[in-house]
Structures are given as C-alpha cells and as structure tokens.
C-alpha cells in the first residue's frame, strides 16, 4: 500500500500489548485485513498483567509496510503498546504438534529423530505418534521435512512468539518511542 522505500521485503516481528476486551481480536485482524497487509502468523495469549494480552505478528513487507502496520495498530484504542522488534536482540519460538504415521518398523527411527531435535513424544497410538517440538521456524521446518517420508497426518503450529532479551519492558518502550517520532 505505501510506496516502497527501497528496503527489501522481509519478515517483521511485531509485538503488541492489548486490552482483553470483547472483539479485540477482530479489531486487530480487521485493521490488518482492511489495510491489505500480508500477515504470516499471529499468536495471542494472556500476558503477565491482568486484563492485558500479548500478540506476536509476523508481517511480510519492507520497512515502510512494517511501520504502517505498527502505526495502524497503535491507533486502536484497545492496543496499549506496539513494537517492531525485528532488529532487536530477540528470542523467537514456535510450538508445533505433528501427528506422524508410525509402524513397528519406523517407530524407533522416528524416536531417534525426536531425540536429535530435542522434541517430545506426547501421544502414542498403534499407528501414529504425536510429536511436540519448540524452536525457531527453521528447526520446525526441518523436522517436518524429515518426518514427511513417514507420512504426516496433521500439523498444528502456534505461530511465532517473540520476546526481547534483557529488560523487555524498558527496551520495548524505547522501540515504541522511536516509532512515534519517526
């Protein structure tokens, strides 16, 4: 939507602190849909403060697109704080549940893979296993790739969760202020 500033498009990680109000998710997703932003993932859950939730967005676009996303989100009354933390020192994780076909012949091979990836087996059934894995997207992608030959039945991914290293509250405030005066 906004003209490109020449920066090459990439995945931006944006975190938002929002009030737990009815409809807040549709407000947030509505802004994103209406403004034609390209969302790669969105995850939500309660924060450490009562009445507030945290959302992590992954948006694909150049810097100007990411800036517009944060500015448009910041306009929502229920959005208390938004920061693009892509260039900050962050920890980013995703959780995936993978249901894979497992026969008596393949089972031990799968268990070996699970060990290498430091993943967990959380359900064992006669013909399948459910594997729980956390890590960055690359790690999850590669595990899924390796499991594919066994026959994947179902994959459930949480979308990215991200947090800044160090003292997040302070640093987040800094990122916010930079955005506002920019």
């Amino acid at each position: 939507m906004s003209p490109s500033d020449g920066s090459s498009p990439t995945y931006h990680t944006i975190v938002a602190l929002v009030r737990d109000q009815p409809g807040v998710l549709s407000r947030v997703s509505g802004v994103i849909r209406r403004r034609n932003f390209n969302i790669a993932s969105l995850s939500v859950g309660h924060s450490e403060q009562e009445g507030l939730s945290r959302m992590t967005f992954v948006v694909y676009g150049d810097d100007e697109v990411a800036e517009q996303v944060t500015k448009q989100l910041r306009k929502l009354v229920d959005v208390v704080k938004v920061s693009d933390i892509t260039r900050e020192n962050i920890v980013a994780r995703e959780l995936a549940l993978i249901k894979v076909r497992a026969t008596p012949q393949t089972r031990s091979e799968i268990i070996q893979l699970v060990d290498i990836f430091r993943a967990n087996i959380v359900d064992v059934a006669p013909e399948s296993l459910i594997i729980e894995v956390t890590g960055d997207e690359d790690k999850i992608e590669s595990l899924i790739r390796l499991l594919r030959s066994f026959g994947i039945r179902e994959v459930m991914r949480s979308g990215r969760l991200a947090m800044m290293r160090g003292m997040p509250a302070e640093a987040e405030g800094g990122a916010r202020e930079r955005g506002e005066s920019a």
């Binding site: 003209p3 929002v18 509505g30 500015k71 009354v77 208390v80 005066s181």
Partner: protein
C-alpha cells in the same frame, strides 16, 4: 440512589455538555426515549431518516467543534446510520452514535431487529462499545466522548441492549477516565521543530498545504499568523477550505483533481511543502510519483499513521496543528518571497479560474453571486459532485470554518442534513445548502425536519437534471455514453418545497439569479431556490484519476493565448 440505564445515559450526556441529539425512535431504544421528558435540557431533533440524524450530528460537530450525538434503534435504525458514521470517520469528525440493541439474552439468536452493528461498524468507527451492565454506562459515555473528540477525532459507537436501558443501577459519574491505548501527542518534538525551521530557511518556493486538521484544531488564527510572519503562500485542500481567508494576498486556492490549475502548478514548482493536518489524499496528489517531485515535505499531523503513509516526510512532526504552529511561530524567520508570489500571480493569470462565457445559466455564476451577496460569510454545505467542486472553486470564504462537505467518503445526500446540524449549532449564521438535484433527493425528506424546527436554511438546488459528475465522467471517459446519469423525471422542487411549507423560487435565467438569492437571504424562514442550469456543463480544470498536473485538462473556453503556448 439507583437509576435506570436510560437515565444514566441522559445524565452522562448532559454532563458532557450535550444540548442536542438527532435520532429516530424504535423498540430497542424506546426506554431511552421515554426518559427524555425528564431531561428537558436534552433537545431531541426527530429526523426523517437515521442517515439524516448521523449527518446532522456531523454538521453540528463541524461548526461547533463539539461532539455531535445521534442515536437510533437496533437493526434497521442502526444500519441506516452507517453512511453518516463512515462519513464522520473519513473526515475525522467527533460523533457519538448510540444504538439500541435487542435484550442481552436475545443477542446472538437472530432476534427480531437484531444486527451486529458493532461488527458492521468496526472499520468505520474510531472505537465502539457494547454495554452489558447499566452501571458501566457513565464511564463508557465519558470514554466515548474523550475518544471521539481528542487526538484525531472520529465516530464512537455505543450499542446498548434494551434491558440495559431499563436495568436499575447505582453508578458514579467519573470526572476523568484512564484509557491506556489513547494518549494523543499534542506538542511537536523540539528537535523536529528545529529541523523544520532549517528547511523553511533554506526554501525559496515554499507552500503551506492546509487541511482539515487546521479547522479541527481551530488553528486558523495561528495559521494566518504563521503565513504572515513567514510570507509563505497558502493552499487549502477541499476540507481545508475556509481555514485561510480567500481574500488574503497569500491565499492561492485548492489544488488537485478539480482544484484551480494554478494551485496544482504551484505545488509542482514548490521546493518545500508544509503540510498541516492534511493527508496527501489521492484527489490532491493524483499520481504520487509525479506529485511535487522537487519539494521537501514538513508534515504535521496528530495521527502518526498519516505521516509517511502516502508521501514520505523529510521532517515528520506528530502533534496538534494548533500546538505545533504556536511552537513554531516564535522560532520561524520573518520573511517574504516576492519572486515566488509573482510567479504564482503569473500562474493565476495564465490559468484563470473564472466563469466561462455561455448562453445558458451556469452553476459557477450562481455560486459567484451567492458568494458576493453573502459576503463570503455564510455557512455552505454541499453534496457530492459537480456542484460541490464549483462551490469549492467559486465561493470566497472570508471567515473560518464555514465549508461543510463530504470530503473523504464523498457521500451524496450530505447537503441537507449537514445544513440542519450546522444551523442548529450556529443559529446566528446564515446557512446555504448548495445541493445537486441527485443528492438532494437522497435526503430531501429532511425538509420536514427543517420546517418542524423552524430552521431558516436556504437551499440552492443546482438542477442539471442529471447525476452531473457521473455524466461528466461518461462524457470524458466513455464517449458520451450516458447510462443512468440523466434523469427523465425529477419532482417539481418548487411544489415539493411548498408541500412542506417552504417558500420556493425557480430561476431559469441569469437575470433572475441575484434577486432570487437576495430574496432568499431576506426571507426569515427557509427558502428553496431551484436553479435550472445547463445540463452538459463540466467542471474544469480536471486532472484525470491517477494522472499528474502534466495531464491537466483546462476549460477550453478559458484558454488564454498565453496558456495555449504553454501547453
């Protein structure tokens, strides 16, 4: 002492200084209506359509600077408000809309007259509430007024289930509310202000682009002082019209698709644009890539999301225009740009905006006479289309905040109800509604509201027996294939007005124009003048959508030999 939800709403509104509410009753909102007799200071204006209520609240808000309030019943009443709410959103007008809703236990069951009005209005409201406990009403109303009127203003919706209106509750009225996600920045950042001053000092052909933000923040005195101290000429956008006096030596005009050619050309030659509360709308810029390529930009806006959205700013300043101008005034240099002003004068001579010669009656001359007779001091409302552009071009506003038009949404039908809101908000002012015969028919039911409330509004119907702007586009872009744009049947507007008890005149000849306008001005009550104008008259100049000033089409009848050479 316990009070009903309906009583709490009325009291909360009175505490916000509300004097008037526009609306129409219905089942879900009836409990609120039935408490009105207890609150004689809350004046209710019964409109004939909810769109009229929403747009009247919008017009009232624009002229008074206060929050406009409208309400409607659930379902169809609520959906009828939508165009007015969207209009307030697009033009940043503070409006609080209250809708009745079906009872709490019926919500979600597709009950009779149930509509998810919150869901429908999500993209066209600044914020919204559905209230589930009567005790919350005072706080919600307070928050709604704060959100609607501060920062970048906009509409806030409060949806109230019928049984919440009747619920008895003990409630306190908060003096202040804490809204963590709503902290508008008013003052500009000092470092950015210093950078702005430096850019201004370096500029040789600077221009001020004044938008609606100047009027919203009521910064017309500051704008004038700033322009006079710096000597920088002023351009106003459609919604910025009347932010700067049209008879001032530094006034240039309106640019853009149907703006004055010289204003668009001046932007093209400028080396600095000081954008004040305007958002580089495509009707102003045309092709963004070609827009003001040689100019640096200082962009002042209270909404950070507007800065850099369409046009990159060299100096972004987040803040309220009035505050920022007050900060800038003492630190900007005294200056003047005689060469630049002479160049703009030359552009004005070479690309004049004046009424072309014609045998038939032209809308442009009607507006020129109207401007002359009212001295540029009447409140003018318009619909959308050709008459709107002619009003913007030919009415010379010499006082601030007199021009009410649907800029962002471009909603036909705005001309009549906005005049009602304006006249109620400013009973001291003469209000002229310049209407298209198309748009007028969308809300002309509100003539009853005009009469019922003894509003002395003057209506000038620019009657071209067509959807003029559509017809013009068909002429230019579709080889005169006039599909569904010329009316075969219009009502007799004079008889129609008379049926409502409104004095009415018809003008077919240019010799009658002045006397008709004068007669309307002198008559103490409402008057409608039906001006039968040329059907095929076009609005010039015209920069086709997506094009730049290089593709500007001027009125062939006005082309001076000099201009001819330039083209």
């Amino acid at each position: 002492m316990k009070k009903s939800g309906a009583q709490l709403v009325c009291e909360a509104l009175l505490r916000e200084g509300v004097e008037v509410v526009f609306g129409i009753p219905g089942g879900a909102i009836l409990p609120l209506y039935q408490t009105l007799p207890q609150y004689p200071h809350l004046r209710h204006i019964l409109t004939r359509h909810e769109e009229g209520a929403a747009m009247a609240a919008d017009g009232y808000a624009r002229v008074t600077g206060k929050v406009g309030v409208c309400w409607a019943t659930s379902g169809p009443g609520a959906t009828d408000l939508i165009t007015g709410i969207a209009n307030a959103m697009m033009d940043s007008v503070p409006v609080v809309a209250i809708t009745g809703q079906v009872s709490r236990k019926a919500i979600g069951t597709d009950a009779f007259q149930e509509t998810d009005i919150i869901g429908i209005c999500l993209p066209i409201t600044k914020h919204s509430y559905q209230v589930w406990r009567a005790a919350d009403l005072p706080r919600v109303v307070k928050e709604a007024f704060v959100i609607a009127s501060t920062g970048r203003p906009g509409p806030v919706l409060i949806d109230i289930p019928k049984d919440v209106f009747t619920e008895q509750a003990e409630a306190e009225f908060p003096e202040t509310v804490e809204i963590p996600g709503h902290r508008p920045v008013l003052e500009g950042h000092p470092a950015q202000l210093r950078r702005a001053v430096r850019l201004i000092q370096e500029a040789r052909r600077p221009l001020i682009l004044a938008g609606h933000g100047v009027l919203i923040s009521r910064a017309w005195d500051e704008l004038r002082a700033f322009a006079e101290k710096t000597g920088i000429p002023v351009i106003t956008t459609l919604l910025g019209i009347s932010a700067f006096p049209a008879d001032h030596v530094l006034y240039v005009g309106m640019p853009g698709m149907h703006g004055a050619a010289y204003a668009s050309l001046a932007i093209d030659e400028a080396d600095l644009l000081i954008a004040l509360g305007m958002r580089f709308d495509d009707r102003v810029t045309g092709n963004l890539e070609a827009f003001a390529r040689g100019a640096k930009v200082i962009h002042v806006d209270i909404d950070p999301a507007e800065i850099g959205k369409n046009r990159k700013a060299d100096v972004p300043i987040v803040g309220d225009v009035r505050h920022v101008l007050r900060q800038l005034l003492p630190i900007v240099p005294h200056s003047s740009y005689p060469q630049w002003l002479a160049r703009i004068e030359q552009l004005k001579r070479e690309h004049p905006l004046r009424v072309p010669d014609s045998k038939g009656l032209l809308p442009q001359e009607i507006i020129e006479h109207l401007s002359d007779i009212t001295g540029g001091r009447a409140i003018i409302t318009t619909g959308v289309g050709q008459h709107q552009m002619w009003a913007a071009q030919f009415y010379k506003f010499v006082e601030p905040n007199l021009f009410l038009t649907s800029g962002g949404l471009g909603a036909m039908g705005y001309e009549v109800p906005s005049a009602i809101g304006a006249q109620i908000g400013r009973p001291d002012k003469m209000v002229w509604s310049i209407a298209g015969d198309g748009g007028f028919q969308m809300t002309m039911c509100e003539l009853a509201t005009v009469v019922e409330n003894r509003l002395p509004i003057k209506f000038a119907i620019i009657n071209n027996r067509s959807l003029g702007m559509v017809r013009q586009w068909q002429q230019v872009f579709y080889q005169r294939s006039y599909v569904a744009s010329c009316y075969e049947c219009n009502p007799d507007f004079v008889k129609l007005a008379e049926a409502y008890g409104i004095r009415a005149l018809r003008v077919t000849d240019r010799k009658q124009v002045r006397t008709a306008i004068e007669e309307a001005c002198e008559h103490p009550g409402p008057v409608l003048v039906d001006f039968l104008v040329e059907q095929e008259e076009n609005v010039y100049p015209f920069i086709p959508p997506g094009m730049s000033v290089k593709e500007l089409i001027e009125d062939p009848r006005l082309r001076s030999p000099q201009a001819e050479r330039m083209l």
